[in-house]
């Protein structure tokens, strides 16, 4: 075997004491397509940020060797200088500039600060030809589809003498034809001697193009597979991706499930910005009394979109479908109406959508149900204090009093405040979107206990999560959402991580 072009050894990285990467080794051969796979949160993106210098040298532990040299990148400029170019999932193009302007952004074809448009144009034309685009270099980015924009990003990378190209989920928002074209392009680049790292969830794509696969799980390398000697089965990859021990990390529940309470029928949602895209494609869903129903799926599957469109149409447009409570059709077209129908939605983004961070715990706790602590629109601060104090004790929110500003709380405690806010609105149906995202294990257990308690009280809980063990540990039933449709449903007894993962990765093929 030749000397690897890239060698990463013992990479460790923490955020505020939380381990994101605990021990990653990665070795990439020159001229190969190397796939990195792993669940959401396995550390793929963090690893690529370490490699590209987003986290500067010294911010992490471990060793990076590129083309035989030790690398200490202080920023993206350093890694780009070496020929390592990363294309992020969110494209970094300026929509209202032309293709040529975007390709040479920060690297303008200029002498003495004066741009030579002819050179830019000609060079761009050559680059576009390489990636198989026939657009004029003067076309605006905003007029191109996502697939073509992805190709522009690659052309931009090629303009910088790329040696190692990193693609982070390049096909996540592409349709099949565009994805195929992109895979073809990767194979073509490989023939030209460019090494490529491909991060993807789609195993069918990976088996098509990858020469080797590194599997990450919980921030560590768990397997390095070589595909050149023989085909690696998807089963093997999936097993490596999810194969972790299930410890006793969830509270014991004794489900007492009643009749159907909450039901959604033929729910259809169009994309907020691109109305021609259908995000949720006519789904049906129901939750029974005292039941916890999980929604599994990858990022971009449409889980949050589904939840928010049901909750007061806060996402999407041209929404159609019906919501029933106890068999009666209800109107949830505004947040106020949804709350009045005793539906609550706990957001996945507590800082962006959940809390008014500058304000206190008490203030945030009562925000969704101010009328309950006021008389004739005048807030009774005493009552507000009692309510907030009550929830602070019940949910074990750690802070000296309820007058602490929420910005100063830890993630877990912030999450509890958001939960308190929605519990105080007295809901019958609770939609929890990633209720434990980014909080530590201890706080997670507390949140799980609260959720179990709610179900025991007879509430309907709909729980969206990217962490499969959490769904398996908590839910009575798990529905798998992929590309806007439910592709599988499992009871608690029959569900396994392998089955869920398989239903996701195989649904794209059919």
């Amino acid at each position: 075997m030749a000397e690897p072009i890239l060698e990463m050894r013992g990479i460790k990285k923490s955020f505020h004491g939380v381990r994101a990467l605990s021990n990653v080794n990665l070795s990439v051969q020159p001229g190969e397509i190397h796939a990195i796979v792993g669940e959401n949160g396995a550390g793929k993106s963090t690893l690529m940020k370490v490699l590209s210098g987003v986290y500067p040298d010294g911010d992490f532990e471990g060793q990076i060797k590129f083309s035989g040299q030790d690398c200490h990148f202080k920023g993206i400029a350093d890694s780009e200088h070496k020929g390592i170019i990363i294309i992020h999932q969110e494209l970094a193009l300026v929509p209202l500039l032309s293709i040529a302007e975007n390709i040479f952004l920060g690297n303008e074809q200029a002498t003495g600060g004066i741009i030579n448009w002819t050179t830019s144009f000609v060079k761009t034309q050559a680059l576009l030809k390489k990636v198989g685009l026939k657009e004029s270099p003067n076309a605006l980015i905003t007029n191109l589809g996502v697939g073509k924009q992805q190709l522009i990003e690659i052309a931009k990378a090629l303009s910088k003498e790329v040696k190692l190209l990193i693609l982070d989920e390049p096909t996540a928002s592409l349709n099949e034809t565009d994805s195929d074209a992109l895979m073809e392009l990767l194979l073509e680049l490989k023939r030209q001697g460019i090494t490529c790292i491909l991060i993807s969830h789609k195993l069918n794509e990976i088996s098509k193009v990858a020469d080797s696969i590194t599997v990450l799980r919980d921030g560590a390398t768990v397997a390095s597979l070589d595909c050149t000697s023989g085909k690696i089965s998807e089963d093997t990859v999936i097993r490596h991706m999810v194969g972790r021990e299930m410890a006793d990390r969830y509270p014991k529940r004794r489900p007492d499930i009643g009749g159907k309470v909450f039901e959604v029928k033929n729910w259809k949602v169009h994309h907020e910005v691109h109305p021609e895209r259908v995000v949720i494609k006519g789904v049906d869903l129901h939750v029974k009394r005292g039941e916890i129903v999980g929604i599994a799926g990858l990022m971009g599957a449409g889980r949050t979109e589904l939840a928010m469109s049901i909750f007061g149409k806060t996402y999407g447009r041209d929404i159609s479908g019906e919501v029933f409570l106890h068999g009666k059709k209800v109107d949830t077209s505004t947040v106020q109406k949804a709350i009045n129908n005793r539906i609550a939605y706990v957001t996945e983004d507590r800082k962006g959508y959940g809390l008014v961070l500058d304000e206190t715990i008490a203030w945030n706790t009562t925000l969704a149900n101010l009328n309950a602590v006021s008389t004739n629109a005048v807030i009774d601060e005493g009552r507000e204090f009692n309510v907030a104090e009550d929830y602070r004790r019940k949910l074990n929110i750690r802070s000296p009093d309820v007058f602490a500003r929420t910005v100063n709380l830890s993630g877990g405690n912030q999450q509890k405040v958001v939960l308190a806010k929605w519990l105080f609105s007295d809901p019958e149906v609770l939609i929890l979107d990633e209720p434990t995202r980014g909080i530590d294990v201890g706080a997670k257990y507390e949140i799980y206990t609260i959720i179990a308690q709610l179900a025991a009280e007879g509430k309907c809980v709909l729980m969206i999560s990217s962490e499969m063990p959490e769904l398996l540990g908590m839910c009575d039933r798990i529905c798998v959402l992929n590309e806007g449709k439910f592709v599988a449903e499992f009871t608690a007894a029959e569900a396994t991580q392998e089955k869920i993962m398989r239903s996701i990765v195989t649904s794209g093929v059919n």
Binding site: L367, E381, G382
Partner: protein
Amino acid sequence: MVTQTVETDAKEAAGGGSFLKNNLREYGLLLSLVVIMVFFQIETDGTLFQPLNLTNLILQNSYIIVMALGMLLVIVSGHIDLSVGSVSGFVGAVAAVLMVNHGVHFVVATILCLILGGVIGAAQGYWVAFYKIPSFIVTLAGMLVFKGLALAVLEGSSVGPFPDTFQLLSTGFIPDPFHGETLRVTSLVAGILMALVLLVSKVRGRAERVKHGMESEPAILFMVKNLVFASMIAAFSYMLASYKGLPNVLIVMLLLMLIYDFVTSRTTLGRRIYALGGNEKAARLSGIKTERLTFYTFINMGMLSALAGLIFAARLNTATPKAGLGFELDVIAACFIGGASASGGVGKVLGAVIGAFIMGVMNNGMSIMGIGIDYQQVIKGLVLLAAVCVDVYNKKK
């Protein structure tokens, strides 16, 4: 026993220190107003606090303060209104045309003008709230439109004088049945009563909070702050009483201040405006009708601009095409000096009022000292910048 009391005392003192540190902004603002007043009192050889000048100070700043109350809500909700000066000028012009040219009774004209202000606010707020057009642009357009309309309504010339009864809004003083020659007894009594009511309501509010264990302000600070405040009110009303008594417009202003302070700090409406400015997405997801709320704040701003326009017109006793010119700058500056945040969600009514007084006292003091209008503007600009810098610095710490 003895050691125990010492311990709690020490603890309380430490608590007071940290409380003062955390609420530096609030006390700092009041303190700066006092320092500025004392400074000008000395520099102007005592002219600043002469009853005549004090009365003038209030009359000069009343319309700024009235608009600052509305502007505070607009800024807290995360927007800005640049049109308030033009709108107040335009409404003043309409009032003059109605009363002087068409002989409409002043009460009818006042009501019509306030409604007009509300309609203007609605017309601007509509675009901001429902079409998400940046308020900066909408109200910049409004600024031009209403400046032009004021010119058009007045046909380029001044219209006046107003009926005597209307002028009383700005130039009148509360009646004094005792006919005190050197001291207006009613005014003095009213002032002292006001101070007492304030004191009693503050003490009761505190008792309520203490009962629930919600109070964090140390007793000593609370007492000092409110006693200073109450005695300041009493002293000012004594000084005013020794001239012509309390101006009518002061009563209007104080009433509005109390109402707006109450609405912002105690009602669900006020709470929702802060939520809207603090995190619009979270507010919307909590069932707050953010668009309608934004719309209302602009209607409110329009009405207060109209009222300010009337006060200003009554004070000059004539409506001129130049009325209202540049008011928006003083009003916005008052809010920011008073601690409002340009990104929304933060700011207090009393802060804006104190901010307006800081600007007002500086205007007045510098004029008495004979500083030219040129450097007055330079100094005011620097004070605004400094105040906001201190704010940002405090936040970063």
